[in-house]
């Protein structure tokens, strides 16, 4: 990995069109927090890595090539079954 030392308000350029600036540094040691400013073309996606990793993991764990249990299960996992969804309490859960 390339490691560079930068001061506040200094930047690095990646690929000629992505600029990352050190905006703020707070705290020290394990508690240190660095705020980065990122200027990039809007078609370049920027994610926090933990969010990206979580999406990759969710995708990989959702691979279902042959799904023999599915047709039966899908009859159960239905929004009209009254047990599903996020926004209304289940009237039959008492």
């Amino acid at each position: 990995m390339l490691v560079l030392t930068r001061r506040i308000n200094e930047s690095i350029i990646i690929g000629g069109n992505i600029e990352i600036t050190i905006v703020q540094v707070r705290g020290s040691g394990e508690q240190a927090v660095v705020r980065l400013g990122i200027s990039a073309p809007k078609q370049v996606s920027v994610f926090r890595k933990e969010v990206y990793d979580e999406v990759v993991a969710a995708n990989q764990q959702s691979v279902q090539p042959n799904m023999p249990h599915l047709p039966g299960a899908l009859n159960e996992v239905r929004p009209d079954s009254g047990r599903l969804g996020s926004d209304e309490p289940d009237p039959q859960s008492k």
Binding site: S62, L74, P79
Partner: protein, 139 residues
Amino acid sequence: MDKAVVHADGVAEKAFDFGTGLFGFPEVSRFVIMEIPGGGDIYKQMLSVEQPELGFTLLSPQAFFSDYKPEISAADLQSIGAENQEMVIVMTIANIPPDFRQATTNLKAPLVFNPYNQMARQVILTNDDYLTRMKLFRS
């Protein structure tokens, strides 16, 4: 669900092109959307053209979460040649284990399909209220 998607029954010309836009699977780009027996309008199956053993179950998120309102960024819409969000179809990846009461879907990173040019991408929403593993069943 648009007819162009529903009838993409394994015909290569009907495959959607994800580019490198399915996170974790940059090497596969073309997927067909197929009916699932019993899946109706809610569930579809998405199968890789390049790797037939690679498949996902998709669902129509609004069927379960009527208040789900993903805001697709202009850049993400542009990446599939869509001018506005009304042009695209949004589906989410379902994870349905044998114990289907543990079923979840990924509301944080929906799939967006442009049925007019067969381009598609997975997008990551900035809204932190949406979970990658949102349970379909309250438990």
